[in-house]
C-alpha cells in the first residue's frame, strides 16, 4: 500500500505532531519503507487465526469499588506547565 505525502500529513495531524515541510518529506520516505516491510504480513495465510492482543490468555481482574485515593492536587500540579485556582490552563477552547 503506497504511502503518499498527504497520508503523512494526515497522520501528523491526527497525532497532533507539528512537522515542517522537510521533516514530512523525510518521514514519507522512511514510513514508505517501513510499510513496505509491514506489507510482508499480507503474504501470510491467517484464515481462521484469531488476533492475539496479549501474550498470555489471561482475563481481567476486577477491583473492589472502594475509594483509595486522597487529594494530591498540589503534588500533581507541581509538574504542570500552567495552573490557576487548581485548574489546568489551555488556550481557549471554542465550542
Amino acid at each position: 500500500m503506497a504511502l503518499e505525502h498527504a497520508d503523512v500529513l494526515r497522520a501528523a495531524h491526527l497525532a497532533r505532531l507539528g512537522l515542517d515541510e522537510g521533516e514530512a518529506d523525510r518521514y514519507l520516505d522512511d514510513l514508505g519503507r517501513i510499510l513496505e516491510m509491514a506489507d510482508q504480513l499480507q503474504s501470510i495465510d491467517t484464515d481462521g487465526v484469531a488476533p492475539l492482543a496479549h501474550p498470555l490468555d489471561a482475563t481481567q481482574r476486577l477491583r473492589a469499588d472502594e475509594v483509595t485515593e486522597t487529594d494530591q492536587r498540589e503534588t500533581f500540579q507541581r509538574c504542570a506547565p500552567a495552573v490557576e485556582n487548581g485548574l489546568y490552563l489551555v488556550p481557549r477552547v471554542v465550542e
Binding site: 497522520a11 522512511d30 504480513l41 501474550p55 498470555l56 477552547v93
Partner: protein, 486 residues
Amino acid sequence: MHDQTLTGLAAALAAGEFSSRELTEHLLARIERHDGALNSFITVTGEQALAAADAADAARARGEAGPLTGLPLALKDIFCTRGVKTSCGSRMLDNFDAPYDASVVEKLAAAGTLSLGKTNMDEFAMGSSNENSFYGAVKNPWDLGAVPGGSSGGSAAAVAAGLVPAALGTDTGGSIRQPAAFCGITGLKPTYGRVSRYGMIAYASSLDQAGPMARTAEDCAHLLGAIAGHDLRDSTSVARGVPDYTEGLEAPLSGLKIGLPREYFGDGLSAEVERAVREAIRVYESLGATVREVSLPHTHYAIPAYYVIAPAEASSNLSRFDGVRFGHRCENPTDLIDLYKRSRGEGFGEEVKRRILIGTHTLSEGFFDAYYKQAQKVRRLIRQDFLDAFEEVDVLMGPASPTPAFDLGANKDPVSMYLQDIYTIAVNLAGIPGISVPAGFAGGRPVGLQILGTHFAEAQLLNVAHQFQQATDWHLRRPDLAEETA
C-alpha cells in the same frame, strides 16, 4: 569493590568488610570519574543514595538487614521515581519530576537496595543503539567508538563499566538482552506479566517488561526475586507465586534438551558471532545437554508484526504528552492545535515521531484490518512457533544479536536498524522469557548468547545461564576504562 558481583557485595556487606556508605561513595566517585565519557546516567542521585546507604548501615547494625540491604543499583530513566527527574530520555519529560514511585521502585526500596540514579536510554525506549536520547548517545565501555545497544544502553554500560553492580532495564523488543550482549553483561527479560508495569512509562503495553541487568545470572536471580510478583495496580500482571530464583541455580544440566532455531543461524549473522555462540553450545554439550535443530517458521514475520503492533500502541500511549498536565509545553501557544502540535513536535525526537506516525497510520480507517489485525494474527502464529518448539526442547539458544556492537553513527537508516532486532523481537510478541549471557568476543566486542524458555521458565533460564557461568569466565571480563589505563 566495583568488580564484584551483586552477590559478592552482599556477602561483603554482611561480613562487615565495608559499609554500604563506603561502597556507595566508591561507586559515586567512579561515576564522577568515568561517566563523562560514557554518558550512562541522566541523573545521579548521590545525596539520596548516601542517605539510603546510611539507613541501610543502621538497619544492619540493628540486625534488620535482608539479603539485598544496602546494595546500590541504577534505574533506567523509564521508571517513575518520586521527586526525581524521570525523563524517559526525552526532551518532553526533561522537566518532569515524577510525583510517585513505580511499583518496582517501591519493591527495590522495600528490599533495602538504594538507587545511585537514573540511566540513559533511547527516547521512550525506542531504539537499538541508545543514540536516540535527548541526553546524547551512550558509549560502549569496551570501545568508546561503539554503541552500547538499546534501549537500556545506559543501564548496560553502567554495569559493564563497574559504575554500579546491577541495574533495571526494560525490554519491548530486545532492549535488555541486546545491550546486555553488546556490553558483555547478563540481562533477563522475564515473562510478560511477571513484573509489574505500574510506573514504568509505557512504550508498547502488550510487549513491555522490566527486568534485571547485572554481571551474572545469580545476581539477576536475586533481583528478579525482589521485583517479580502480582501487582493490584497492573491488570496485566500475573497472580502467580514468586519462587526463590536462586534455589535451583546449581541444578546440573545433564539431560537438558537445547533447541537451535534454524532461522537464528541464517543470513545476516556475523561469522564471528556465530562462532562464539556455537562454542558456547559446545560448552553446554560438555555439561551433559543434548542439542538439536528446531524451526520457528514465522521468525521473519516478527519484525514486520512488531513494527505494526508496537508503534500502534505507542501512538496511543504517547498521546498523553500534550503539554497540559506535565511535560514540555511550547512557548505562547496561539490556540489549542498550536499547543498540541508545537509541544509534541518540539518535545519528541525523530524516532519517536516516526513511530507515532507509523502507528497512527496503521490504526487509521481503511488500514486497521490489513495492518493491525493481521499483525495480531501473525503474533498468534509466532507464539505458537515457540510453544510448539517447547514441546520438543527445554530451552532455545542462539545469538542475541546478529552482530557485535556497531560503531556509533554507523546505522543511520531506521529500517536497517530495526532488522538488528531479528533474534530478540519475536520473544516479546510471544511473551516468553529470555536471557542474554556473555559468550565471548568478536573483534574485541562482547557477544551475547541468548537463551529462551517457555512462559514463566525464568528459574530454568537462570539455572542454565548460571551453569554456563560456572564453566566459563566471559562474564568476569572487564573493559579497561580509558582514564584507568591512562
